[in-house]
């Protein structure tokens, strides 16, 4: 962009009498209504609840607010994480239940307790959250019978994805299904499925893609190999690609637009360790974060962030939970050795990046509660009480969830 030329001008003001004021209330009001750009400037700044309500103002407003392009622009203006859904561990219940940890300053209702938007006899569980949309699937079903859904909890819209192909009577195993959705780039989303490849060889995979724009599942590229322990289920969408970490060997990422698979550089593993110890892997406000904890003191750790050019990870935050363990001694499992990996009982549910980085924080799960930990000034406060699962009521330091049980909830008007 060429540099801006600034011209300074002297302004001599003569305030003419107010009888020269030409605007009359009715004239200005009409001009605003007829001026879509001006109206949009105002509407853009309204919270989503107001927008949904104001669809009923007039047909013109209905069409303005329902326009997918409008919901795009909304996304660019406001990225606010409202809360986290965390899946409760319950043995008996058919339909998984979710706690809602509210992250906004105003109290708000949980969008759902369990997923009932469609009748699935196997129950419905959340697989992944991506920029306001949730990827869900049948909860307890064999793979060939499993349904996959894309669901928007804000406007309750959902799509049932077409069934995955069966070739010559053989259903190739699914290793992971992930959602790629970036409303700032497109109103459409893609779903990436990693399956066993044709010849059913172990450790050989293939990718199939579903697009909400162009439709049915299709193969993408040839087969590829990957470490058998790579976690294809826990993919994270960032920078136009789905990222998968592996405890051994290479971690990978798949560029969704170019349909190319690449190796993702990872931080070095400390000498004495054979495998990676992920404690968190997720995305927030356009940043990819990774936390690996090796000890010896597991209350100290770094939060890594990936560079946009994939040249490597850098330490974004250094965390010391010493102050937290002082206030919440139930975190400490005194029956263990202080250098034991499980000496401190906590899990990291989310790294939340705020518009002003000084406000960025962690959501931590401690026994029976969730706590918000501010990364800059290291202050913290309790956010939420977690009722223990029935079979763990007696274990004071038990934890209910880890990072892969937590899903971000951001409000979105996106149509699915």
């Amino acid at each position: 962009m060429p540099p801006t030329k600034r011209t300074k001008r002297n302004l001599t003001i003569t305030i003419t009498s107010s009888s020269n004021h030409h605007y009359q209330a009715s004239a200005s009001v009409e001009t605003i209504i007829n001026n879509d750009d001006l109206l949009t400037e105002i509407l853009l700044r309204l919270p989503i609840k107001s927008l949904l309500k104001f669809k009923a103002v007039s047909k013109h407003w209905l069409s303005l607010i329902s326009n997918p392009i409008f919901s795009h622009r909304l996304r660019l203006v406001c990225i606010l994480i409202s809360g986290l859904f965390v899946r409760r561990f319950t043995l008996r219940v058919n339909n998984p239940e979710y706690d809602f940890i509210n992250l906004e300053s105003n109290p708000s209702r949980a969008p759902f307790k369990s997923l009932t938007f469609v009748n699935d006899s196997y129950g419905i569980k959340v697989l992944q959250s991506c920029n306001g949309l949730l990827l869900c699937s049948s909860s307890r079903a064999y793979q060939p019978r499993r349904n996959y859904y894309v669901y928007n909890p804000t406007n309750k819209q959902y799509t049932i994805l077409p069934r995955l192909h069966v070739d010559r009577g053989i259903f190739r195993s699914i290793f992971g299904v992930n959602l790629a959705f970036d409303p700032s780039k497109s109103a459409h989303y893609k779903v990436i499925c990693v399956r066993n490849c044709d010849s059913l060889r172990d450790g050989h995979y293939q990718i199939e893609i579903y697009s909400s724009k162009t439709g049915p599942w299709r193969l993408s590229g040839g087969s590829f190999t990957a470490p058998s322990v790579i976690n294809f289920r826990g993919g994270v969408f960032w920078n136009g690609a789905i990222h998968w970490v592996s405890t051994h060997g290479s971690s990978l990422y798949f560029d969704v637009d170019q349909e190319k698979l690449r190796e993702m550089p990872m931080p070095p593993i400390p000498d004495e360790w054979e495998e990676r110890r992920h404690q968190y892997f997720g995305e927030s406000r356009g940043h990819l974060h990774l936390i690996e904890i090796y000890g010896p003191c597991t209350a100290l750790f770094n939060v890594y962030e990936m560079k946009t050019d994939y040249s490597g990870w850098f330490v974004k935050y250094r965390v010391d939970l010493g102050g937290v363990t002082d206030v919440f001694p139930e975190m400490i499992r005194t029956y263990l050795d202080p250098e034991d990996l499980h000496y401190y009982g906590y899990s990291i549910l989310c790294v939340v990046r705020e518009e002003n980085d000084d406000d960025s924080y962690l959501v931590l799960h401690l026994p029976k509660k969730a706590v918000r930990y501010n990364l800059k000034d290291r202050t913290f406060k309790k956010l939420h009480d977690v009722a223990p699962a029935g079979n763990q009521a007696e274990d004071e330091s038990a934890l209910q969830f880890r990072w892969f049980d937590a899903f971000q909830y951001t409000e979105s008007l996106a149509c699915v």
Binding site: T4, L11, T16, H21, T31, L44, K49
Partner: protein, 134 residues
């Protein structure tokens, strides 16, 4: 991209883009100097705002102003392409209407409800449902 900064007695008032500048100048009348250096404004609102804008906090300025005054200033800011003022006014107006009822919005903007009764009912039902679930 050209930016023109208008000053008054050394105090920077506002920046306008090229299009707004020509509009501003078109409202001037030449007296002593060239029309480029002196602008006689016939729109007292924007000047009032900008003088206050320079010295007081943004979010206090909108307080005393009536809805009509804000709406008029928004139009002027848009016409003169003064982006900062426009953003601020849009934000202030949004805050004023965000928790109001649909009927209030119609009165505020002078909009007529052009839904058919059945459509009205459908939209109302949809909102009621969402309101319970959200």
């Amino acid at each position: 991209n050209e930016e023109n900064i208008f000053e008054d007695g050394g105090q920077q008032l506002f920046k306008v883009e090229e299009q707004g500048c020509s509009r501003l100048c078109s409202h001037s009348s030449t007296s002593d100097g060239t029309s480029e250096d002196m602008v006689v404004l016939q729109l007292p609102y924007i000047i009032k705002f900008c003088k206050a804008h320079g010295v007081s906090k943004e979010n206090e300025f909108g307080k005393g102003k009536s809805n009509d005054e804000l709406k008029e200033m928004l139009l002027v800011a848009d016409y003169l392409t003064i982006k900062d003022t426009l953003d601020y006014l849009a934000e202030t107006l949004a805050n004023r209407i965000k928790n109001k009822s649909v009927e209030y919005i119609r009165k505020f903007f002078g909009i007529e409800n052009n839904f058919m009764p059945e459509e009205k009912e459908a939209t109302r039902k949809e909102y009621e449902l969402l309101r319970l679930l959200i």
